[in-house]
């Protein structure tokens, strides 16, 4: 299983970047919110693994 890592890059212009690797589904959002620290998001890009293990909504079947 891929290790979950969080890389925060903080520059001298008052901006930062968060790169989450190895996360799947809701764990990704939790880690992101842990590190966002109330900052304003200016750009966000989800990667394919983000959607892994996200259960599609089940259709209700009527019999």
């Amino acid at each position: 299983m891929e290790q979950k890592t969080i890389t925060i890059t903080i520059d001298e212009q008052g901006t930062a970047a968060i790169d989450l690797e190895g996360f799947e589904g809701r764990g990704c959002e939790k880690a992101f919110e842990d590190f966002r620290g109330g900052d304003r998001v200016t750009m966000e890009r989800k990667k394919p693994a983000y959607y892994t293990n996200q259960q599609p909504e089940q259709k209700k079947s009527q019999r």
């Binding site: 890592t5 008052g14 190895g22």
Partner: protein, 138 residues
Amino acid sequence: MSKYAQLVTEVREEKYLVEALKEMGYEVEVHPEGAPLGRYYSEQEDKRANIIIRRSQLHGAFGDIGFARQTDGRLVAIVDELDQQCGYGAKWLGRVQQLYKEKQTLATARAKGYILKSREVVETRDGQQVRLQFVVRR
């Protein structure tokens, strides 16, 4: 990889701001109820701040620099226009924000149980970048 985001650092937590300013070598006054910033000419508008660096601490500055708490919780810098042109402009403030964000990130990571794997300072064309890498405790 699963997500990448860019953020603008918003200073909200007094503790980490004070730590950042101290690391830059300043003695800082903290006024929970706010205190007036010193004026250097009589017509200057009265301004109040919650965190103040007096001009005696600021090499070459004309006035005090303060950070005032806003209704939305942010601590916003109050820097005289002249001082913004004398070394206390965007670059100075960016350095404050950088130190603030690093301190806040390290403290949050400790509190939430993440493990610091590495810290490196990278020289770029736009100045230094601090890169912190954490791993999730298994």
